[in-house]
């Protein structure tokens, strides 16, 4: 099931009491809407290797109440599994790992349904619509390259987001394949970034209010307490009017002008707190209400330009907001007012002025959406929900669009290409702090697996051989993996059409080589806390994707446990 369709906002009050209490602490982050999306989701984990990371990820999804999960894994529990996975017990030995893990995971949350598929991956994957029950697929390395290829294709055709991850020793990484258009309205921007008071473009009601509140300020007839309680927004509006009179009707626009303006405001009263607040707010709030380039890109996207009867609601609203923006040269007003020193009554009046303008702006967008619905012949049953439009208008300045990119797959003997990212990634290679070397090392690790394993048709997952897993192959495997990695580095530099000189070139190879040595040394074994951490990162991104809130990783996240840091690269 694809999640690109317009989701109908859930009824707000249907969530039962006990459940609400249980999930209280997370509802405060992603709300009822996010919770319902989570509870309607079904996630598939294609597990392999020592298999801890994927299970740790599921733990973090079962606890907050994901609807269904399925583990696809034909492995049988071994002694080594017991030493590293928390969700297996002594009695599990010799049984199917998927079934045992599902049973123990389900103990965590009776509201969650878990399923185990122990059928071999290579037969499962050949079925048509193998992925249709799932909202999201997560695949663990090592995996047969041709099967990974099929997973990628399924994901792209059905628009089912897919994750592919590695977790070896102290190191891990994951890549995320999202649909070609993955828009997010609820990006939860930092609260400091959301203040939008339109002080440079006040509307009559706001100007009038500011005028009333600042009456008597210039001739000194205002009482001291009243002066001390003029909301800073009104102060700035007042002084902006004065500034304009002295500057041919222009507002302060350069940094220099704003600094000058700021000093002027401060000089008007050096003692009162509200004047200080006004002074402090100048640089942050005196910005023209232009949309960011990311938002304008969304307005210009083909999906917004070529609407049709079945267009997702997002694009319909985006088009309507784009029209609004074209007409008014500003986005719909969000309507929130930050804290400021004021009399309560004045503060509330100010809030109401902003809210009322926000409502008017939103109403205009709603009207445009209705018009677009008519024009595109959308069925009234599919009418875009007004709440969704309102939500869009509130967050319009921060909407985000991710264009999903397929993750790379290393086949035996085939060159790996970076396409339009080659130049940027070649540049990345030479940065001493970059973790791209880890990405290259994992690609090399994959190619080693593809080269040294029995093909899927013959042995499937059981025949996968990872570097360093044999008794004495540490030295030779390190050489092999490092060799492949260096070839990838050279190909990338060539593809980028650049040339890396020494000492940068040797240093690059050194860094990549160190990562290779480290992952071969671990021999495909997972370290529990690194698996747990990677599972946490994965679950976090899965939640972002399922709830369509917050901006997910685009598209590869690398983690170095020794340095305890991550890096996200668009590859």
């Amino acid at each position: 099931m694809a999640v690109t369709d317009a989701d109908v906002p859930p009824p707000l009050l249907d969530i039962p009491k006990a459940k609400e209490k249980k999930y209280d602490r997370q509802l405060r982050l992603w709300g009822i809407g996010g919770q319902i999306a989570l509870e309607e989701a079904h996630i598939l984990l294609i597990n392999s290797g020592s298999g801890v990371t994927g299970v740790e990820m599921l733990k973090n999804l079962v606890l907050p109440g994901i609807g269904h999960f399925t583990i696809l894994d034909s492995a049988v529990v071994s002694e080594a599994d017991l030493g590293v996975s928390f969700f297996l017990e002594d009695a599990s030995l010799g049984r199917f790992r998927a079934a045992e893990t599902v049973r123990l995971l389900m103990e965590l949350n009776p509201g969650v349904q878990g399923h185990a598929i122990t059928e071999p991956l290579e037969t499962f994957i050949t079925k048509d619509n193998a992925f249709s029950p799932y909202n999201l697929v997560v695949a663990a390395a090592p995996i047969d390259a041709s099967i990974l290829e099929r997973i990628r294709t399924h994901s792209q055709i059905l628009h089912v987001p897919a994750f592919y991850f590695h977790s070896v020793g102290y190191l891990s990484s994951f890549s995320l394949l999202l649909p070609p258009a993955f828009p997010i309205v609820d990006t939860h921007p930092d609260s400091t970034a959301t203040t939008d008071l339109r002080l440079l473009r006040p509307w009559p009601a706001l100007s009038q209010f500011a005028k009333e509140k600042t009456a008597g300020l210039e001739d000194g007839t205002i009482s001291a307490p009243d002066k001390a309680h003029i909301p800073w927004a009104c102060l700035l509006l007042h002084y902006l009017e004065q500034w304009k009179k002295q500057h041919d009707g222009k507002v302060p626009s350069t940094y220099k002008e704003k600094s000058e303006f700021r000093t002027l405001v401060r000089a008007a009263d050096p003692n009162e707190e509200n004047f200080e607040e006004a002074y402090a707010a100048v640089l942050k709030t005196l910005n023209p209400p232009t949309a960011s380039s990311a938002v304008r890109e969304i307005f210009a996207a083909p999906e917004a330009q070529q609407l049709h009867a079945a267009s997702p609601a997002f694009w319909l609203i985006a088009k309507a907001v784009a029209q609004f923006y074209a007409k008014h040269e500003q986005l719909p007003l969000p309507g929130a007012v930050p804290d400021m020193k004021a009399q309560s009554a004045d503060y509330i009046a100010l809030q109401n002025i902003y809210k009322s303008k926000a409502r008017d702006d939103c109403a205009e967008v709603v009207a445009s959406v209705r018009e677009l619905e008519k024009q595109t012949g959308r069925s009234p049953k599919q009418a875009v929900d007004e709440k969704e439009i309102e939500n869009f208008c509130k967050g319009a300045a921060h909407i985000h669009l991710v264009r999903g990119r397929p993750f790379q797959i290393a086949h035996a003997g085939q060159a790996i290409t970076f396409g339009d990212r080659a130049k940027a990634m070649a540049m990345e290679l030479t940065m001493p702090e970059s973790l791209i070397g880890l990405h290259v090392a994992f690609l090399a690790w994959d190619e080693y697996v593809a080269t040294h394993s029995t093909p899927a048709s013959e042995g499937g997952g059981v025949g996968l051989k990872v570097p360093g897993s044999g008794a004495d192959d540490f030295g030779t495997d390190t050489q092999r993996v490092t060799g492949i990695a260096q070839k990838i580095v050279d190909c990338l530099i060539k593809e980028a059409g650049t040339f890396v000189e020494d000492p940068e070139y040797s240093e690059t190879k050194n860094r990549v080589g160190n990562f290779c040595m480290e992952i071969v040394r671990a021999g495909g074994g997972e370290l529990h806390n690194i698996a747990s951490l990677t599972g946490g990162l994965l679950a976090q991104e899965v939640i972002k994707v399922i709830t369509r809130q917050y901006i997910p990783v685009d598209n590869t996240c690398l983690f170095d446990g020794v340095a305890s840091r991550t890096q996200v690269l668009r590859i």
Partner: protein, 624 residues
């Protein structure tokens, strides 16, 4: 080697694996992070070979005072529904032991402040993990670890964010070297504060005597004060009607009608703003009292909805009825607790009624709970990430104790870092900072720590004089002061206590005695942890026997120790409500910690500003 260890041994190497297995670790807290840390510890083999064959000690000790609540289950994965109300420490041990029977876990359902957890207890560990939810306990463990010279890994999460900090005495900053980050506070909470910290205590608290002290502040007329006192007095009279059927109506009319009418009568206050509109019980009520209570009971279940004024009246009546019954059946004092639904119903409905009167937007109970109860969002993923990072830092610290490995140059604490988690960010989810060296003037980690051994834990008949003499002899003090939790007990001008027995001031356990040099060229403070001994030795003994203190580094101004509650009087915020600022302006200093729950509720008014010390520890104070 068992095949079970393959993964660990291959990643950590044999030397570190052995060290991890033979280590002994203390985990303080078995909540969100604690559960995850415990899982990581057992899965990584910590403590599985701790102690020698002859003196086998549990490899992992976990201490937690809390019991399990339903709202824990979305992340604290060692607990199930059937465990609700059971001690976290015991259940965590039980669940985690099933995974690795070879790890011996010792669980304590106790407070880390208990005297049994003294410095000698802390000294038995190789590593301490803090997985706590409050500032006071974090500071305490920090101090104990400094005293015992045991490395500490401190951690915390809020929503999507988390932080891990490795602390080692004399090597890194300690927890108290820096002021703590400020938690989000809700400055516009005067109305809720009124409901929670004035009205509720007035009706169900200890206020019979004097909780509503009226502050005499500049600008308040004597008249106004008299009226306020009168108002509080009148409320006490109403309180005496508790249990009678007209109680709800009386309270309602008192606070939402009579008091408002009185405010309204002060016309000069309402010249430039909208005057409040009083409500009347009779005018609003729909149905009989029983019907209203029933209606309120139903509404109280719908905490996501914003109730209408009539609804608020119903919930108010219902909660008042419930609370009265509790009060009359023996509960002497009912205090606000966000998880006590009856008090939350009361505060939410009363706050909304008052908001309506002052034409302020109403909120749902769910929203009010967050504002009044200081709820910190918490999710499984952040805990999992943070705990994994804690254990990673643990590996590094243990590795650093092995000495130089493979000839590599060893970084501070094996390369341990200050790690920040911000999973909301899409670019920089986990970032690090180099651990800073200790702050030279940190009042907590700059002193020298030593032990004072007291015979049988109290030093018998030993007097303060004997301690003073001992310090003069063994440390070479001339002019100095001695401070305990009770305050200064001795300094050059305070000799009254010298003849008193020491046990009046100190107890063994985890108390600290601070000795500060008052001489011209001052030496650093000496902090003594008191421990008991039962031998035949002297009553008082310093350990080590003699101490050389270095001189203090020069500094501008003496650092203040934190944690002393500011002296603030309480007054009902009635006068201030309409003239309050809605600001958390630049000049206001907000001191808050994530979860300090112990600060008492106080509300203070001066001039026209409202100063709030909320019981969530959020303090808003004027700076000037």
């Amino acid at each position: 080697m068992q095949r079970r260890d393959r993964g660990i041994a291959q990643s950590l190497g044999l030397l570190l694996t052995k060290c991890v297995k033979e280590s002994r670790v203390l985990l303080v807290g078995a909540g969100g992070i604690g559960c995850e840390v415990l899982k990581n510890l057992v899965c990584c083999g910590f403590g599985s070979l701790s102690g020698t064959a002859s003196s086998k000690k549990p490899g992992i000790v976990v201490i937690d005072l809390d019991t399990i609540d339903l709202s824990n289950l979305n992340r604290q994965f060692l607990f199930r529904k059937r465990h609700i109300k059971k001690p976290k420490a015991f259940v965590a041990k039980e669940t985690a032991s099933q995974f690795n029977p070879s790890v011996d876990i010792d669980a304590h359902h106790a407070s880390i402040f208990d005297s049994q957890y003294n410095v000698e207890f802390f000294e038995t560990f190789d590593l301490v993990f803090n997985a706590l939810d409050n500032l006071a306990a974090r500071r305490h463990v920090n101090r104990m670890c400094l005293a015992a010279n045991v490395p500490l890994i401190e951690s915390g999460t809020t929503g999507f964010n988390g932080q891990v900090q490795a602390i080692k005495k004399r090597v890194t900053e300690c927890y108290d070297c820096n002021p703590k980050p400020v938690q989000k506070t809700f400055p516009i909470c005067t109305i809720r504060i009124w409901a929670k910290s004035y009205l509720l205590p007035e009706l169900f608290g200890t206020s019979e005597e004097e909780s509503a002290d009226v502050a005499v502040t500049e600008g308040d007329s004597a008249d106004e004060l008299a009226k306020l006192k009168e108002e509080a007095e009148a409320l006490k009279n109403v309180r005496r009607m508790m249990g009678k059927s007209e109680f709800a109506q009386e309270v309602f009319n008192k606070v939402f009608h009579d008091d408002i009418e009185r405010l309204r009568s002060m016309t000069e206050m309402w010249q430039s703003r909208k005057a409040p509109e009083a409500l009347s019980f009779e005018g609003l009520k729909a149905g009989s009292e029983t019907e209203i209570i029933e209606h309120g009971r139903t509404l109280a279940e719908q905490d996501q909805a914003v109730w209408s004024v009539q609804d608020d009246l119903a919930v108010f009546t219902y909660s008042l009825d419930t609370l009265s019954n509790r009060c009359l059946t023996g509960e002497k004092v009912i205090e606000f607790d966000k998880d006590d639904k009856d008090t939350l119903d009361f505060v939410a409905s009363a706050a909304n009624l008052r908001s309506h009167i002052f034409d302020i937007p109403l909120h749902s109970e769910w929203e009010i709970k967050q504002m009044a109860g200081n709820i910190i969002p918490a999710i499984a993923t952040s805990n999992a990430l943070t705990a994994s990072l804690c254990v990673m830092e643990g590996f590094k610290i243990l590795r650093s104790q092995l000495g130089s490995v493979g000839g590599k140059e060893e970084a501070t604490l094996g390369g341990a870092k200050m790690v920040f988690l911000n999973s909301r960010s899409t670019e920089r989810m986990i970032t690090t900072q180099t651990l800073a060296p200790p702050k030279a003037d940190c009042p907590v980690c700059s002193p020298v720590y030593a032990k004072l051994r007291l015979r049988n834990g109290e030093g018998g008949k030993a007097t303060l004089q004997e301690l003073v003499d001992l310090l003069k002899e063994k440390v070479g003090y001339d002019e100095f002061a001695i401070t305990t939790e009770a305050g200064i007990i001795y300094d050059p001008d305070l000799e009254d206590n010298l003849e008193k027995p020491l046990k009046d001031y100190v107890t063994h356990g985890n108390g600290f005695i601070t000795v500060s040099d008052e001489g011209d060229e001052a030496k650093v403070d000496l902090v003594l942890s008191t421990v008991a001994h039962s031998g035949e030795d002297a009553e008082l003994q310093l350990l080590p026997d003699s101490i050389m203190l270095p001189y203090k580094p020069k500094r501008e101004s003496p650092a203040e120790t934190n944690g002393h509650a500011k002296e603030i009087r309480a007054t009902p915020e009635v006068v201030a409500a309409p003239t309050t600022t809605s600001s958390a302006g630049a000049k206001r200093k907000r001191e808050a910690d994530e979860e300090a729950e112990s600060v008492k509720k106080r509300v203070m008014a001066s001039k026209s500003e409202v100063h709030v010390v909320d019981d969530d520890g959020a303090i808003l104070l004027d700076d000037d």
